[in-house]
C-alpha cells in the first residue's frame, strides 16, 4: 500500500484545514474499510490521512422526543444497529444496517464513512481509467452492466452502494457538514449528486468538508418501516435492488409514506409519483399492482439490467404487504 502521513487533529476546524482543497492530497479516515480498499487498488493516492477519532462527540448518538435522532458520523454501524431506539422506532434503519456488509465490517465501519463510500462499479474499482476517474469513457455503458443503474444514469451509470443511505433517505434524514469556514445542514436528498452534475463525485462535499452528524426526524407513533434488500448471495453482498419504506398506517388504509430505493440509481433514489400514490392508499392487490405499474416508468435500463424493473416493482409490493401484515 502507498505510504502517507497520519494526522489526528483535536477538532473539526483543524481537521478541515489539514484536509485542504485537493482530493489528491489528503483524505479522511474513519473506519478505513472503504478507504483502504481504494488505496490498495491505487484509486485514491493520498499523501496524508486525517483521522477524526480525537474529535469529541462524533461517536455519540442522541435521541430527543419530538426532535428525533442525532447520530455522530463516527458511530459504528453495529453500535447504531444495536440501539433499542433504532430497532424499535427506526426499524428501517436497523434492518438496513443489519444487511450492510459483514459483522466484522459493521464493527469497523462508521455511518459517516458509509454515506461517503465510493461506488462499486467494477471498472471504477479495476484498472480502467473511466469518466469517474477523470478518463474519457464510461466502460459500463456498452460493457458489463448487469449491476448498473436503470434511473438517473449518464454519462456514468453507477449505483450508489450504501444500504443505510436508502433507509435514511426514506426517513427524511439530513446531514450536517463542517468545512473550513462554515457549518451547514442539508437534506440527504440534496447531499448526493447525479453524474450529470458531477461525474467524479457522489456527493456535494468539498475536499475540506466533513460530515459531522446525521439527523433523523422523530416519527409519528403509527409509523411502520422496513427494508428489503435483494442480493445474489445469502451472506454479505451489495444490493442488486433494495427498497426502504416508511409508512404511516391508519386503520383502513395507509395515511401516507415514503419509499426509497437502492441499487437502481447513482444516488439513493426516490420517485414522487410513488410517494404521492401512497397517500391514503388502501392495501389491496389491485392497488398494489397499480402502484407497481407507475413505478420506474421513466427508467432507461442498459443492455444487461432490464431485470431490475420487475424486481423493484415486486419488492415495492412485498415491502408494503409485509408492513401491512
Amino acid at each position: 500500500m502507498k505510504s502517507f502521513s497520519y494526522h489526528q487533529p483535536k477538532d473539526i476546524r483543524e481537521a478541515s484545514n489539514l484536509l485542504g482543497d485537493n482530493w489528491q492530497d489528503a483524505l479522511l479516515n474513519a473506519g478505513g474499510t472503504d478507504l483502504l480498499g481504494l488505496i490498495k487498488h491505487d484509486i485514491e493516492k493520498p499523501d496524508h490521512l486525517v483521522n477524526l477519532k480525537a474529535v469529541k462527540d462524533l461517536d455519540k448518538v442522541r435521541y430527543q422526543e419530538g426532535k428525533g435522532l442525532s447520530i455522530g458520523a463516527l458511530v459504528k454501524l453495529n453500535d447504531l444497529a444495536a440501539m433499542d431506539i433504532v430497532q424499535n422506532k427506526y426499524t428501517v434503519l436497523a434492518e438496513a444496517l443489519q444487511e450492510t456488509a459483514s459483522p466484522q465490517l459493521r464493527n469497523m465501519g462508521t455511518i459517516g464513512g458509509n454515506l461517503c463510500q465510493r461506488p462499486r462499479c467494477w471498472y471504477f474499482r479495476g484498472d480502467f481509467d473511466c469518466l469517474r476517474k477523470g478518463g474519457e469513457l464510461c466502460f459500463a455503458a456498452d460493457g458489463e452492466n448487469k449491476y448498473h443503474c436503470i434511473s438517473g444514469g449518464g454519462p456514468c451509470f453507477i449505483v450508489h452502494p450504501s444500504d443505510p443511505a436508502v433507509a435514511l433517505l426514506a426517513l427524511d434524514a439530513s446531514v450536517t457538514i463542517a468545512g473550513k469556514d462554515r457549518e451547514y445542514t442539508v437534506p440527504l436528498h440534496d447531499f448526493f449528486v447525479l453524474p450529470e452534475d458531477d461525474v467524479m463525485r457522489e456527493n456535494i462535499l468539498q475536499p475540506h468538508e466533513i460530515v459531522t452528524r446525521i439527523h433523523v426526524p422523530d416519527l409519528p407513533s403509527n409509523t411502520r418501516s422496513g427494508y428489503i434488500k435483494f442480493k445474489e448471495r445469502d451472506v454479505w453482498d451489495f444490493a442488486v435492488v433494495s427498497v426502504a419504506a416508511v409508512l404511516r398506517m391508519g386503520s383502513e388504509r395507509i395515511e401516507g409514506g415514503t419509499m426509497a430505493f437502492g441499487g437502481v440509481a447513482p444516488k439513493p433514489w426516490m420517485e414522487k409519483t410513488i410517494n404521492d400514490a401512497l397517500n391514503r392508499m388502501e392495501v389491496t392487490d389491485t392497488n398494489l399492482d397499480s402502484l407497481a405499474q407507475i413505478a420506474f416508468t421513466d427508467a432507461l435500463p442498459l443492455a444487461q439490467n432490464g431485470y431490475k424493473i420487475p424486481l423493484v416493482r415486486n419488492l415495492i409490493k412485498r415491502v408494503i404487504r409485509t408492513l401491512n401484515a
Binding site: N29, T33, Q98
Partner: protein
C-alpha cells in the same frame, strides 16, 4: 491427539520464529505486561523516517513500537510481532481469514490501519489459549471437526469468539449471521456452525 497436534504445531512455529525471525521481528518492539494502554493522542505523527509511535495491547501484553502509518494491523501482528496464527487470504476485507478481536469485537485485521488500534486491546488466536490449555472454542472445533484444510479456522474461531462475546448463548440464526463474514473455501460450514453451538454449551 488434540493436545499433541497443538503442541507440535505451536512449538515448531515458535522455534522457527526464534531461529529465523529476527529479520522481521523489529528490534524496537517492547513486550511487557501492563494493565492499561494510553488514550489516543492528537497531533501529526511523523518523524524523519515517517515512523510513528504506536501503543496497544496484544494478547494481554503491552506493545510499544514505531511503525509507518500505512502498516495494517495484520502486518503488525504477523510481520512485526511474529504472531502467525492469524492468516491473510484476500487482504481486502472480504473473507474473514484475518479476523482478530479489537476490544472484544471481531474485526478484519487486513483492512484496518494498525494505528487505528492505538490504545486498544487486540486478541489473536494465540491469545485464546490459557498457557498450554486449549480454549473451549478450539476444543469444540476439534471435537466437531469444524475444519477441512484449516486455513480459515483461526479466523472462524475469532469470529465465533466475537459472536459469543455479544451473544453468549446464540441461536442458530445468530450463529449463521454472526459467522457470515467468514468464508470457508472447503465449505465446512455445517460443522463450523456445530462447533460454535458446542462451544457455547461449554
Amino acid at each position: 491427539m488434540a493436545k499433541n497436534k497443538k503442541n507440535s504445531r505451536s512449538m515448531s512455529r515458535r522455534d522457527f520464529m526464534k531461529g529465523f525471525g529476527s529479520g522481521v521481528v523489529g528490534g524496537s518492539i517492547m513486550l511487557q505486561t501492563l494493565h492499561a494502554a494510553p488514550p489516543p493522542t492528537t497531533g501529526t505523527f511523523k518523524d524523519e523516517s515517517n515512523r510513528v509511535e504506536l501503543t496497544l495491547k496484544v494478547n494481554g501484553k503491552l506493545v510499544q513500537t514505531k511503525i509507518t502509518p500505512h502498516t495494517t494491523l495484520i502486518e503488525l501482528i504477523r510481520d512485526k510481532l511474529a504472531l502467525t496464527g492469524t492468516k491473510v487470504v484476500c487482504n481486502h476485507g472480504e473473507c474473514g481469514a484475518c479476523t482478530v478481536l479489537l476490544d472484544g469485537r471481531a474485526v478484519y485485521s487486513c483492512h484496518m490501519l494498525a494505528l487505528d488500534a492505538h490504545g486498544k486491546e487486540v486478541i489473536t488466536v494465540e491469545g485464546l489459549m490459557q498457557g498450554e490449555e486449549l480454549h473451549p472454542l478450539q476444543e469444540a472445533f476439534i471435537e466437531k471437526d469444524g475444519m477441512q484444510c484449516g486455513f480459515c479456522t483461526p479466523g472462524q474461531i475469532m469470529a465465533a469468539q466475537g459472536l459469543l462475546n455479544e451473544h453468549p448463548h446464540p441461536n442458530r440464526e445468530q450463529i449463521l449471521k454472526g459467522m457470515s463474514g467468514n468464508i470457508c473455501r472447503c465449505s465446512a460450514y455445517p460443522k463450523i456452525a456445530d462447533s460454535v453451538v458446542a462451544a457455547a454449551k461449554k
